[in-house]
Symmetry: D2
Subunit: 455 residues, 4 copies
């Protein structure tokens, strides 16, 4: 079937309407009206005679804005297209009195801001969805200092959450036959173990590797999230041989273990619209079918929150049962190149392993593991299996995770149980051996804390 790719053409019918509008705008103000006017027009034009053309102009003009202008733009949107508080109040009062379907419907309509309809109409433009994702990325940045824009960000998130439903996504294998325009995004978005260029990329798409990504039909060249997998024998304990592009390629049919060594969310504008959990499970499923010999599925993951937590507890060594001697050694880790001192590393090993085991097993935030990667995988149904001392000897690896990496394993027949135990009962799937690494006095400490909490 011929795909007409109408979107690539100029929509001259719609353009005719647009030209009319431009003329009118010009005659009013002597210059091309701003985005504000276009947004008003897009919402006010009943029917859609020129909707696509206006939406396209908004998309194009948005691309030209600098940061200040974006701020102004979203403040305008917030002021002009947010809900009318008085109208909502009236509808709310009516509902409280009547409590009938009609007044409920009315209230429902009143609490939905015009902003949502504006976004839905902008989406009609060629490239509209991509721009809306960018808008949310920009807004997430802006709301840090301008919390008043949160309602707009909330509206965008609401729609994106609905539009990027798993049912609309496609999973694709990425390999050396993938178009370059997609491959270069991988180089750009890979942040766990950075790629230096095409040579590195080629290594990560070798015959003993697999890479998968989710795509949305309107963003065909933009991966939403991708995962990199190495097919190996035995549970990998070090990242070095995996990301070294000069290593020989092995026969993937002989592999017994799939190592998920890098997962990257690509679109900041889709923050909070989570895909990672689904992607991992589907890739496990797919690999099981492609390679019947695979027996184990495991991550090789950083412990990215460790160092920050470690720096904070260093100030209260007693509470964490850190011996004076160890504390002195640990203070040396403030230097930029502490890890190049092999003796220091060796001396630190027992204490650091103990602390990192404690950190993963006991450190909490809102009743969930404090470490974001641990939180993600444990909640997702994986089991923390092993800690690997000197698993990542890159500067970043040392600074962030004290050079250690963790294996979270995915056992297909235990994923659901682990997940439910995690979510419902806060029982986290962590191997006995991890607990064993925690110094006994810290374990006692932990028990006391729990005791306290229960009381």
């Amino acid at each position: 079937m011929n795909s007409l790719r109408f979107n690539q053409f100029l929509h001259s019918v719609a353009d005719t309407g647009m030209e009319l509008l431009r003329t009118r705008l010009r005659s009013n103000s002597g210059q091309l009206k701003t985005l504000t006017a276009l947004c008003r027009e897009l919402l006010s034009t009943r029917g859609e005679a020129s909707g696509i053309a206006i939406a396209r102009d908004i998309v194009n003009q948005y691309q030209e804005l600098n940061e200040d202008q974006r701020l102004q733009f979203f403040e305008m949107v917030n002021e002009e297209f947010s809900v009318d508080v008085d109208d909502v109040a009236v509808a709310a009062e009516t509902f409280c009195k009547l409590r009938d379907p009609a007044s409920l419907r009315r209230l429902t309509e009143q609490v939905e801001s015009q902003c949502q309809e504006l976004i839905r109409r902008i989406n009609m433009a060629p490239g509209g969805t991509a721009t809306i994702v960018e808008m949310r990325r920009d807004l997430l940045e802006l709301t840090k200092n301008h919390p008043q824009l949160e309602p707009v960000e909330y509206d965008l998130k609401h729609l994106l959450f609905s539009w990027f439903n798993r049912g609309f996504l496609e999973i694709e294998q990425i390999n050396w036959e993938t178009p370059a325009i997609i491959l270069e995004k991988l180089i750009q978005y890979e942040s766990v173990h950075a790629m230096k260029g095409w040579q590195d990329l080629r290594g990560r798409l070798a015959d003993d590797r697999r890479c998968f990504a989710f795509f949305h039909p309107t963003l065909p060249n933009e991966p939403l999230i991708f995962v990199e997998v190495a097919l190996v024998q035995g549970l990998s304990e070090s990242i070095e041989p995996i990301i070294d592009a000069t290593q020989p390629v092995t026969n993937p049919q002989k592999a017994d273990t799939a190592i998920f060594y890098s997962i990257n969310n690509c679109q900041q504008g889709l923050k909070g619209v989570s895909f990672g959990n689904l992607l991992i499970k589907q890739v496990v499923e797919h690999l099981s079918r492609e390679f019947p010999n695979l027996k184990h599925f495991s991550t090789l993951s950083p412990i990215p929150g460790f160092r920050r937590w470690f720096d904070s507890i260093l100030k209260q060594p007693d509470q964490y049962a850190i011996s004076k001697q160890d504390h002195e050694l640990m203070l040396k880790m403030q230097s930029d190149d502490w890890y190049e001192d092999e003796k220091l590393l060796e001396s630190l090993k027992p204490a650091l392993q103990g602390l990192i085991a404690y950190y993963l097993a006991y450190a909490r935030k809102k009743d969930e593991p404090l470490d974001p990667v641990a939180r993600f995988h444990l909640r997702n149904g994986a089991r923390l299996k092993r800690l690997n001392w000197l698993g990542d000897c890159s500067p970043n690896g040392f600074q962030q995770s004290a050079g250690m990496l963790a294996n979270y394993i995915y056992e297909p027949d235990k994923i659901v149980q682990n997940h439910e135990a995690h979510v419902k009962d806060r029982i986290f799937a962590i191997d006995r051996k991890i607990y064993d690494l925690v110094p006994s006095n810290l374990r006692g400490n932990q028990s006391k804390k729990r005791q306290k909490r229960k009381n």
Copy 2:
């Protein structure tokens, strides 16, 4: 790039979760739990460990329901997953007091029913979107006698309206190289000028024809709407030569006119989610580019509301200035084969033309043209150009439109003006010649009515 078509496979990882659930359900009740239990489970499972599998089961089981069961299912959904009126009332009162962002957000969350989240999760299943469209089709049927289900229908419409945004649709040309699985849908959905089978279809996809449809990425084999176009010389006045598959194929490069002779919405479940206006304009645009010789774009349309209106006014002939003689003739139109009496037809011609012109030019419903096809095209920016006596001599053509067809022409540079004049000022683009057909005494009548309204 290899598309993995994961959706076609069984999701065995998710299945594991599902099996667990089924076992639990069975152990409780001795049998496979019903859809109700699955819906609860789908919403209650925090995280998504087995979301896709549960959603798939819901989709499969929904397909098995008979009409009674569907009614029960939606009543359950309505009772269980609609908004909690008390919670909304509390949130509404709080908002009325505080009128701050936090209480607004809380209210917004309360008025969104759980049903919407349920639908979003069902959408994760393979074939989920298609099932949701079917659900709305079924609900539209059910709400006729069960208006209490309207909130559920409203929730479905809200999501489908958002998901079937023009930005997500693709326009495709349909021709003889299109897969049979799509072509058979055309035969099935064509209701303006029915096709008897593949022979008819082939004629409508001949070299001097064009056919275009909108598709949604998740329904690749289901056209949402399609339009059939004949490329001819001069403005067609009769449908016969167009739908007669035995007519010789002409050279489309020599055509000066594109006749849009059939437009069909295919998905009842998407009722009210309009695409027709956009499709026509984009096809006009596309044909202009493919055939630079095309000068005119016109429909050849039925007047489907005429007969019902005509039957009603026949009871009050005086008010519509129908002479006694004409009235007698018109009463003969009650018979099943009145149109086979050529003399009668000839005698009726002036009066019928006058009435149909009056009907199109003056008959109103909520300030818009009463005839649905006239309303659609005029609102859409077309101009009613001509009436064609004996344009459709099929039994259906006579019974519905008294054998007449109308040409609505689309002039690219006037579409926007027509549309805006229509929407804003209720000025309808109707040719002088149509007005001229209206009997003068009826025209006076009309002026008086207007006068009255103004007073």
Copy 3:
């Protein structure tokens, strides 16, 4: 990657050259020169400045020829572009004297007619390959009465044999998602069990059926050969339930047998360029993978040569040990509707089965089975397993095969042995039970004949 489909465009650069040529031709003779002139020009133009355009003109003009003109055209080609006998003779004599590589090369060049180069250049035109296949089809028809054209037909066959090498073919599954332009070819080309229209076709592409075809890249909408398969339980003995489109669809996963019930060569112009043997084996291979439960692969085949042979032996009943009584019954088979007399049928059964068994087991042509279908499958490595009385009760079935069908089974691990025994030792894989059906006195007859031959 964008495929430019240049071939669909006019080649205006080349056209410029063509225009020049046309002008020149016109100025010479006052009218557009004939195909002859174009062929000369195509061969004489050194370089290829206007080769594609000339080739295209030849292709277009060939399409316009009637049968007489085609005869003239090929006679011209034969006279003008065949080898020069004198030149060959000179080169042959030189070679006989020198017997060196240079004179061999020279001789090789001389025996290749210019006609081959002409065909190769015509092939450059858009649609060239398709036209060349048509040319051969026409020539095969013409050579029946005009054997002098055989050298041209031989040249065409030589090139087509080289171009339609298995390495260039693609096997495709045909199903309801296949473009209609291909599906209609199936209806058209099916000659074993004719389809009445799309309804029949749909039945043959149901979920418990499979259909596969070979395609050549330059003929994307033209199947070269296709095979229809039914997935059933047990070895089918009758064609009726298979080709009856109203039969319910069964679950193909439960099938243990794949019945190849129709194989059709589509392109007469490719006669003698055999694909059937490869197609069957690859489909067996493919189905084994898709349906691991399949245990048997069998044809359900007509015995198309039986009736002609039978009619001939009826004249010498003694030689075939036909009893007087049987002979009288058999003479009744001359009538058009003999098979509607059930009693007659029943009376004929033993004798006809015996004769058909004899025909398949012993009737020979050039040391191969006389029946073309038997010859094809036995040579191809299959085993004649069973005869099915009243397997095909269509008029054609009775007239051609006396209502019987044969099962040739393909056992993957015996195909090669069967094939080699067949080709090398003339041992044909025919089941004991078939021999058992042959009347004993005929079997003796056969032994004598063999004896005689050996002596």
Copy 4:
């Protein structure tokens, strides 16, 4: 339609046959037989029961051969599968006597070596065509020292010439959406202006560039030839700004000139099977359509044969009217870095320009321009328009073409005339200005030479 990609699977049916063969071979000789045995088997096996499997083994084993083994392999092929000289002689004699169609056909069959049939059968293997192209590449190398293999090379060329007919090729646009597996080939095959890596490649596929290649259906990831085009304003005189990836991208819609700055044949094994002439003309055609503003189509080409010719004439300065002073300067060009001396360059300019103009206008080989690039473009219908002093200031540019580049322009309405004048009358389309650069005494010289030849 589902493409089954059977070729990617193991052909287990065929494998069964293969296994049988291997067993037999092993039992004979105690080890896996060599390629020789396989080739014999492939040819001797009547029918094709195991043809694909044997062909595949040959393909796989050929890949493993080292250079010595390849030589042995082709010598075996040459000895065993070349024509039988005695048989040819007999057939030749018979033909000389009879001169009838039958004896001609017999002779034709005898002069075709078995090697051709061997190649055709090898082609059935997955990847067969690619291997055959490699075989010819290897043979072209081997025949330099082993001319006795020429008959085998000739057989390969004959088949490849037939198989790579323009009618079977597809032209594709190469851009940033092209799979990486193809793009890396461009980096690898570009030899006119080498690319250092992906950064360079990206520049050559920028929005103001175009790249096109021919592909054969059986080699989907292997371009046969590609051309790189820059869309610029005015006739480019220097390659630097074109291949500098850091230059800003310009608006291609504003370009009036397309510069073909690099054309590369990719497959050494297809040497002599020319595509370049067709590719350029089709790209001219395509660009005219995509960019209606384009007025000029020109190459920016090296003069690769100049330096070798120049070095030879330096020995006979008098004959080429080189002044003593110039001759001394020219001798300095022997150094490796002569071109870094700007003064020298400036002093040499008039003499070098004169000589290069003479070289292009008058130097001949077999009546055609001596320079291979000039020969290609002039024969192809282009016109030598301009010489650009310091057009290519790379070391290679200086060493090969004395830093000069030539513009050959393609004027669509003159291509055919130029081509025909070239081929038939040896009139070469060279601009007056080029002749004007030739020193007048050399021009006289040229006239005399011509005079002499005529006499």
